[in-house]
């Protein structure tokens, strides 16, 4: 399982890491009980601040996707509380808004943006299978 971050992107690093981890957990790529790297390790590997990774983990704990158990570290939650329809719509709206910002900054056409999104969806589906 690979996590990638582009510090030059318009999307904040925090959101890039959070979104990828949430996608992996919700998509089943990261199984329940899988141990996650420590905050220090992930921050060192990605060359980002420990505070950023800590914020990501706190957000994922709040969403019920991961659990932190003191000395045992952080792992994917066994029973994940599914998001409500309203929460899902709000999360999708936020992500779409951020994607739209990047598309506008890069001056990419609407069709090009949709094509890139479709390619990513296909890629994710292939990775998960």
């Amino acid at each position: 399982m690979i996590l990638s971050v582009d510090p030059g992107s318009a999307v904040p690093v925090y959101e890039q890491v959070r979104a990828q981890l949430a996608t992996m957990i919700n998509g089943g790529t990261l199984a329940a009980g899988t141990a996650l790297p420590t905050i220090r390790q992930l921050a060192n590997d990605l060359g980002i601040a420990k505070g950023t990774v800590s914020k990501v983990y706190e957000a994922l704990i709040r969403d019920g996707l991961i659990v932190s158990d003191g000395r045992r570290g952080t792992s994917v939650a066994a029973s994940r509380s599914l998001l409500s329809e309203a929460q899902r719509r709000a999360r999708l709206h936020d992500a779409a808004q951020q994607y739209a910002i990047v598309v506008t900054q890069l001056a990419v056409s609407g069709a090009g943006a949709v094509r890139a999104l479709e390619q990513q969806l296909i890629q994710l589906a292939q990775d998960a299978s």
Binding site: I2, S4, P7, Q41, N44, D45, G47, G73
Partner: protein
């Protein structure tokens, strides 16, 4: 007479040249082969290059730091009491091992680099200090720490109050400092940054981290066992005749254990070349 003096001077000089050549020269490819075999790694080009570089750097730092620690310790001891200056085996041993520990830390710090690439990738594989430790050496480390603390307490209880107790208190603090520093450094080595790598290279990197973490445990254990031996020796000086022999014997046994751990630390850092004549230097598969 002159010829004899010349030969006498030549022997240490030849020894020094050989030591410098072995320490700062290229790593023997058979040692790289031994490392690859011991850790069951794939002999790819990138793996061989990484291991050669890591073994050479680790050997340079360990040897240089040990030498600096030894010479500076002897210089300080000599400057404090030039008239009564004597070289004790234990002083030399503890100084070399302290330098050796510092060498491991220095060579590992050299690898710590922040990623600079525009897109940074990381694996989600968990790397922990516990995962890199060897159970046998780890137990030796903890037993050494416990033994050193108990020996220090025994020495403090047997000695007369005043200056000796202060020495034992300093010794106790030194033991705790060694344990804390080693735990901290092992944690740092385990979590040092690494981008997502191809599986064979990641495995080689894990093997190198394993060597550093186990090396710290072994070098730390040797220091702790030697400190325990020193405390037992001090305790025997203040004890009654009935238990003096027992304490002296315990001191000798713990000192032997300390030397064994030091030897283990060296073997972990630089594996001996494989003895079998049929063993070949690994050739690249990629």
């Amino acid at each position: 007479m002159v010829a004899r003096l010349f030969i006498l001077a030549l022997v240490p000089f030849a020894f020094l040249v050989s030591w410098v050549r072995r320490t700062y020269g290229d790593v023997d490819p058979r040692r790289v082969a031994a490392f690859i075999t011991r850790h069951n790694l794939e002999p790819t080009d990138s793996n061989i290059a990484l291991i050669e570089r890591a073994l050479a750097r680790s050997r340079h730092f360990r040897a240089t730091c040990s030498l600096i620690a030894l010479t500076s310790t002897l210089a300080v001891l000599f400057s404090r009491a030039p008239d009564t200056f004597t070289i004790h085996f234990t002083t030399v041993f503890v100084a070399i091992m302290a330098g050796y520990l510092f060498g491991i830390v220095a060579s590992e710090n050299h690898w710590i680099r922040s990623p600079r690439a525009s897109t940074r990738v990381a694996s989600l594989e968990l790397r922990s200090r516990a995962g890199y430790r060897n159970a046998g050496v780890r137990n030796g480390f903890w037993i050494g720490a416990l033994l050193a603390l108990l020996a220090t307490l025994a020495s403090a209880a047997l000695s007369s109050p005043g200056n000796r107790v202060r020495v034992e208190a300093t010794n106790g603090l030194l033991i705790l400092a060694i344990v804390a520093a080693i735990a901290f450094m092992q944690h740092r080595i385990a979590t040092r940054g690494r981008p997502a790598l191809p599986a064979p290279l990641a495995k080689a990197d894990n093997a190198l981290r394993n060597c550093a973490v186990v090396g710290l445990d072994a070098a730390g254990a040797s220091m702790l066992w030697m400190l325990a031996a020193l405390s037992l020796q001090r305790a025997s000086h203040h004890s009654s005749l009935q238990i003096r022999g027992l304490l002296t014997l315990s001191s000798i046994i713990t000192a032997i254990a300390a030397v064994a751990f030091a030897s283990k630390a060296r073997k972990i850092a630089l594996p001996k070349p494989l003895r079998s004549r049929s063993t070949r230097v690994p050739t690249s598969v990629s």
